[in-house]
């Protein structure tokens, strides 16, 4: 892994530590020796061609995928086979998916309050107050009583963000949050994410939105064939990337 420039972290302590993480899907080697630290309050954007392992990487961090070799330590807890560790880590990590994955049989409010009441053990009143505050924050307070099927894609994704935030996570993972949206809805979701980044949330974002990466990221990781080929600040990455694969990728999308 070429350390071509020093990594700037806004706050010293790393909250996610990955050491030589390897993963195979059958014969296919998806992740090869991934070693990355993410500092608190850092916004890391992961980009790369499709099939490069970037989604698999962030899904390993909350154990939606199992890594077969190496170490992942989140907030001081190592991800292993112990179910209690997995549960403890999942409580501290919020995740937003490409396909929103809202629960269609529950209202927006129920979607948001479900995990805080059942996992965190909050009183309903507290959970509902938090949900209303979050809906306000993502800009759709009037949709609380509706079902996900009655909302637009952009609104659904904003509810999904509110649902993840309701658990008051320390880390947020975004797995291509705007890829399934109409172009005019992308902005409303990105605005919410920018606001979240400014508020000091630690974020790992897999995305194809280069504008977002340039504006918000503290650091960009470029994945290719299961490896981190290059990483650096947005300025470094977009203006003086060294690796030929990075250059090729950038020339095709910019």
């Amino acid at each position: 892994m070429p350390d071509t420039n020093q990594v700037t972290a806004s706050n010293g302590e790393p909250i996610i530590i990955c050491r030589d993480v390897n993963k195979w899907f059958g014969e296919f080697h998806v992740l090869r020796d991934i070693s990355v630290d993410v500092a608190q309050q850092e916004v890391v954007v992961v980009i790369g061609p499709s099939g490069s392992g970037k989604s698999t990487f962030i899904r390993c961090i909350n154990r939606l995928e199992e890594h077969q070799a190496g170490q992942i330590i989140v907030d001081g807890i190592e991800l292993g086979n112990d179910v209690r560790n997995i549960a403890a880590i999942r409580r501290e990590i919020g995740m937003v998916f490409q396909q929103f994955n809202l629960f269609p049989h529950k209202t927006v409010l129920e979607n948001i309050t479900l995990a805080p009441t059942k996992v965190r053990g909050w009183p309903r009143e507290k959970a509902e107050a938090k949900a209303k505050e979050l809906l306000e924050r993502v800009g759709i307070p009037e949709q609380a009583a509706k079902y996900p099927g009655q909302l637009s894609g952009g609104q659904q994704q904003r509810v999904a963000i509110a649902r993840a935030l309701a658990m008051e996570p320390k880390i947020m993972l975004f797995d291509e949050p705007t890829s399934a949206l109409d172009p005019e809805m992308i902005k409303e979701v990105l605005d919410v994410m920018k606001e979240l980044a400014r508020s000091g949330m630690t974020m790992l974002v897999v995305t194809h939105e280069m504008g977002f990466a340039r504006e918000v990221a503290d650091r960009i990781l470029f994945f290719d064939q299961g490896r981190i080929v290059e990483q650096g600040t947005p300025t470094y990455f977009f203006e003086s990337a060294q690796h030929p694969r990075t250059k090729l990728f950038l020339s095709q999308i910019l």
Binding site: M95, F97, Q99, L102, H105, V119, A127, Q150, R163
Partner: protein, 564 residues
């Protein structure tokens, strides 16, 4: 394109080429044709039956039936009227349909979950089960159950009994195993699933138990092994050989590949511990001896189960139980509110169970506390005399009704008792009923299994991932996320299978089970009232089907998704 209107010149043509008019005319013509056809059929049936003096009516239902029905309830005899016979048929059909629906649902859901199992063996077995049952005709399966399974059961004189009569020894060491198992489980609970120490301890425990029980088993049948138990002779050749073999095993385990080492070591050490415990007689050989009495008799004449009779004290006990149930409901609601407001996850289900159990036990104590009457009137040699209860019971003068009246227990649990060629107590179930019930249940469960599998697979994988990412447990995910969405897909086709089962129960006629079709066809043959008979059968199945539809539609509405 310019819209060019071209008014028709002919007004009549304009009317008959109007779409609305054409639709109306079409419907009117259709109704006329249908009504005409039906009235034609009806009048021809009625006139032809009238000439044979068999006009459809319901008056014949009061006539004497004059035929016997096997395994009929005691309110029916051949002197009863046709209407009573029909009621017997309805009861028999309902017995099969209701039990069948319950059993097939349980079996089907289980098989459906097995179809999705990650265990290869379970998955393959359930797949074979489903494919075999789905792809053979139900009639053939019914014949198999009746002629090959039921009629091959042992004779009435030498029935299969369960449990078989005799003495069952329960070794005391089983209790020690249980305690040890719980203790060891707790001591390794904090370790990761694959941690070497955990693997070693658990494997060693199982190996020791298996080795010890195997040795006891051998000692039970072979005198040489019996001699080894507790022998403790250190110079015995067999013992030395065993120690050498164990040492070799230990060495082999030590050099086993990394991922197998601790498992292998656990096996080697565990079996050695088991062997030594046996050889030095440390493991206790004592056993509790339990005397067993047959409770279930199975023969070619059917199945006989113990009978549970209500006694005069049942009402008292039930009063206590209902207070317990009421309290449980109150607790359930109260703690439900408490969970909502405080967020603390009380185990309210357990509190409710506890409330019911406590009141049931209290009621039992209270109901049985009152002493039975000291003297009871019994009939002896044609006279009513007063005798002490125990004496009357000893002399066998108490009828079953007397026992129900004077028992101190809320229930009487009566074991089947055979006298001569029949059972004087116990609940009997005919082989025809059993064959039909099993056939319908098993056949329909194969379809339900596929429906359940499809329903669970229909829930997008993303739902599971979102639920996990939020930190919900597996049980919570299943109950709150997967199941409500799967049921939406499962219920409509499940309702269809319920309809199929209830209608397929008419195949009872093939194995001579007296269901509504068999009884009614007999009535039709005797009275000649075929139109009325068929109508009655159709009304019966119509009512059943409509009831099932109403219930499934109700559920369907409840699980419907709200969308734009």
């Amino acid at each position: 394109m310019s819209a060019k209107s071209r008014p028709s010149r002919n007004p009549i043509l304009a009317i008959i080429s109007n779409v609305r008019v054409l639709q109306w005319v079409g419907q009117i013509v259709f109704v006329i044709i249908v009504v005409a056809l039906f009235s034609l059929i009806w009048t021809s049936i009625v006139t032809s039956l009238n000439t044979k003096n068999l006009a459809p009516n319901f008056d014949f239902l009061q006539n004497r039936a004059g035929f016997d029905i096997s395994n009929a309830p005691d309110w029916y005899s051949s002197n009863s009227d046709y209407w009573t016979a029909f009621q017997v048929g309805v009861t028999n059909s309902l017995r099969v349909i209701v039990s069948g629906l319950v059993l097939t649902t349980i079996l089907g859901i289980l098989m459906g979950i097995f179809l999705l199992s990650s265990n290869w063996l379970v998955r393959t077995i359930s797949r074979v089960y489903v494919e075999v049952l789905r792809n053979t005709p139900l009639l053939v399966q019914l014949f198999t159950w009746y002629f090959i399974v039921m009629l091959a059961l042992p004779s009435f004189q030498q029935p299969l009994t369960f449990p078989s009569e005799g003495v069952l020894p329960i070794p005391l060491r089983f209790a020690i195993y249980l305690v040890l198992f719980i203790f060891l489980r707790r001591s390794v609970d904090h370790l990761v699933i694959n941690a070497p120490r955990r693997v070693f301890i658990i494997t060693a425990f199982y190996a020791a138990v298996i080795a010890l029980e195997g040795a006891f088993r051998l000692a039970f049948t072979q005198p040489t092994w019996a001699a080894y138990y507790g022998s403790g002779n250190l110079l015995e050749f067999a013992f030395l050989l065993y120690i050498v073999i164990s040492a070799v095993l230990l060495a082999a385990a030590w050099f086993a590949p990394q991922e197998l080492r601790w498992r292998a070591l656990g096996l080697a050490v565990g079996q050695l511990i088991g062997g030594l415990l046996f050889y030095f007689g440390i493991a206790p050989n004592a056993a509790l001896r339990v005397e067993l009495v047959p409770a279930v008799y199975i023969s070619v004449r059917g199945f006989v189960f113990p009978e549970i009779l209500a006694t005069a004290r049942l009402a008292e006990w039930l009063a206590f139980v209902s207070v317990g149930v009421a309290l449980a409901i109150i607790l359930w609601i109260y703690f439900g509110r408490l969970i909502e407001t405080t967020g603390i996850q009380y185990q309210r289900g357990w509190y409710c169970v506890l409330a019911i159990v406590i009141f049931a036990a209290l009621g039992w104590v209270f109901a049985t506390a009152q002493p039975p009457p000291t003297v009871v009137p019994v009939e002896q040699d044609g006279q009513i005399v007063l005798l002490p209860l125990d004496e009357a019971r000893e002399q066998g003068l108490l009828t079953r009704e007397d026992e129900q009246l004077y028992s101190t227990q809320p229930f009487l649990f009566v074991l089947p008792e055979k006298r001569g060629l029949r059972f004087v107590s116990g609940t009997e179930i005919a082989p025809e009923y059993m064959a039909l019930l099993l056939g319908l249940t098993v056949y329909t469960s194969a379809f339900i299994a596929e429906i359940v599998r499809a329903g669970i697979l229909a829930v997008p994988r993303g739902q599971l991932e979102a639920s996990r990412a939020l930190g919900l447990t597996t049980v919570q995910t299943l109950r709150m996320i997967i199941l409500p969405q799967a049921l939406r897909v499962i219920i409509p086709p499940l309702g269809n299978q319920y309809l199929n089962l209830s209608k397929n129960s008419s195949l009872a006629i093939a194995i001579a089970y007296a269901d509504v079709v068999l009884v009614t066809t007999t009535i039709m043959n005797q009275s000649g009232q075929s139109v009325t008979g068929i109508t009655m059968i159709m009304i019966f199945y119509l009512i059943i089907s409509l009831l099932i539809s109403v219930v499934t539609n109700g559920f369907n509405r409840r699980f419907k998704l709200v969308t734009r």
